[in-house]
């Protein structure tokens, strides 16, 4: 994050805490997909997002982790719970959906296909990874962002300065999303 140190990140070893976080994320994702009760699914999904946020911090993406924690674990969960409060709650005898075998087969095929490509993916934190070693993109931003903007956080320099027009578009999309919600719900005031 500090523009001064440009040394390549250390090649990460899978630690016990990282492995348990990965297992937690996979398990909560499965539980979200299979939970019979929608409220339970929403709550487990919030836990999944929190696990992802912790995982992003481990992979040294604190900006993404903050977004995941604030938006996905916090705001989205609140909005989903608020929406669920408007519906009827159904009592379920079983905690989990029955597994749809064709769906499992399709997902398994896709997963296996993706797994075949894993051999060519560079290791996490590898200094030879194209995303890190590319002199025209990553290295250029890392060396130029502080010199050109005076901002230590490269992510913010890219978002607000080098890709400022894209960010303007994104901000307008968020704004338009709020307006669209007003229109869909036939309202003229937010509060």
């Amino acid at each position: 994050m500090t523009g001064s140190t440009l040394a390549a990140p250390i090649v990460a070893q899978i630690t016990a805490i990282e492995a348990s976080l990965l297992a937690f994320v996979v398990l909560t994702a499965l539980a979200t997909a299979l939970a019979r009760d929608v409220l339970a699914a929403v709550i487990v999904f919030g836990a999944y997002s929190l696990g992802m946020a912790a995982l992003y911090t481990f992979y040294r993406a604190p900006d993404v982790a903050l977004t995941e924690a604030a938006i996905s674990a916090g705001v989205t969960t609140v909005l989903l719970v608020l929406t669920l409060a408007k519906t009827t709650r159904i009592d379920h005898d079983v905690a989990f959906e029955s597994v749809n075998l064709p769906a499992v087969g399709a997902v398994g095929l896709l997963f296996g296909g993706l797994l075949l490509t894993m051999g060519d993916v560079p290791a996490v934190g590898s200094p030879d990874a194209p995303v890190w070693s590319n002199p025209d993109v990553s290295q250029w931003y890392l060396s130029e962002s502080y010199a050109q903007t005076g901002v230590e956080n490269t992510v913010m320099a890219v978002l607000a300065a080098f890709r400022g027009f894209d960010t303007f578009g994104e901000a307008v999309v968020v704004f338009a999303g709020g307006i669209a919600a007003l229109i869909v719900l036939h309202r003229e005031v937010f509060a």
């Binding site: 994050m1 903050l66 977004t67 408007k86 956080n153 901000a171 719900l185 509060a191």
Partner: protein
């Protein structure tokens, strides 16, 4: 909306069990709106203590986006989440009255206008859109002003607006889940009293 109910009754035989028993009776939210907001002795003091710190954290993330992780998007979301927290602790309607519609709209609209305005100042000076070195302030503060007055304001305003919108649901005028449904349900509810009462307790048991 009144022609929707015969359909539901017709469905009743073929429909899965949860639809037959739950569709024609009142919604959880309707019942809940009838009951007054109850103050929780645990949630209210917790929120009272946590909210100032969380709000300060949101401000910190917004204002220090240039030197540490974060920025307007994350900070704005955290500040909006503080409002959600207050609304859950002290009642959504009370928070809605406290935080007037003008504040929410001013944040969202003002943020969009501020972002566009900051971007257009360099254009007026003969440069490109968002060309920060043509702003009368250092480049770093140009970036931060976009994050603070633009992105953070838009995100917090829109998220608060979505929260209050969803808490309200459909407006009844155009016939959604609003009053039309509630009234017709009320008429129906008066006749079969006993099954309704039985259902309510069942639903309550599932609820808590």
């Amino acid at each position: 909306m009144s022609d929707a109910r015969p359909e539901d009754d017709g469905d009743a035989e073929g429909a899965p069990p949860h639809r037959t028993r739950s569709r024609s009776v009142q919604l959880d939210s309707e019942r809940r709106q009838g009951t007054p907001y109850t103050e929780s002795q645990v949630i209210m003091p917790t929120v009272k203590i946590v909210a100032p710190f969380a709000f300060t954290y949101g401000l910190f993330i917004t204002f220090h986006g240039s030197g540490s992780p974060g920025g307007g998007f994350q900070g704005g979301a955290i500040m909006a989440a503080v409002v959600f927290m207050i609304a859950f602790a002290f009642g959504i309607e009370a928070t809605r009255d406290w935080l007037a519609n003008t504040v929410v709209v001013a944040l969202a609209v003002g943020g969009a206008l501020a972002f566009a305005g900051i971007g257009l100042v360099p254009v007026a000076r003969g440069g490109a859109f968002l060309q920060y070195d043509l702003l009368p302030i250092p480049v770093k503060y140009g970036l931060e002003s976009v994050e603070i007055f633009g992105i953070a304001a838009i995100v917090s305003g829109v998220l608060m607006g979505l929260f209050f919108l969803l808490a309200n649901g459909f407006n009844s005028d155009e016939g959604g889940f609003g009053d039309d449904d509630a009234e017709s349900d009320d008429e129906e509810r008066d006749e079969p009293d006993t099954p309704d009462a039985g259902r309510t307790t069942v639903a309550d048991g599932g609820e808590r």
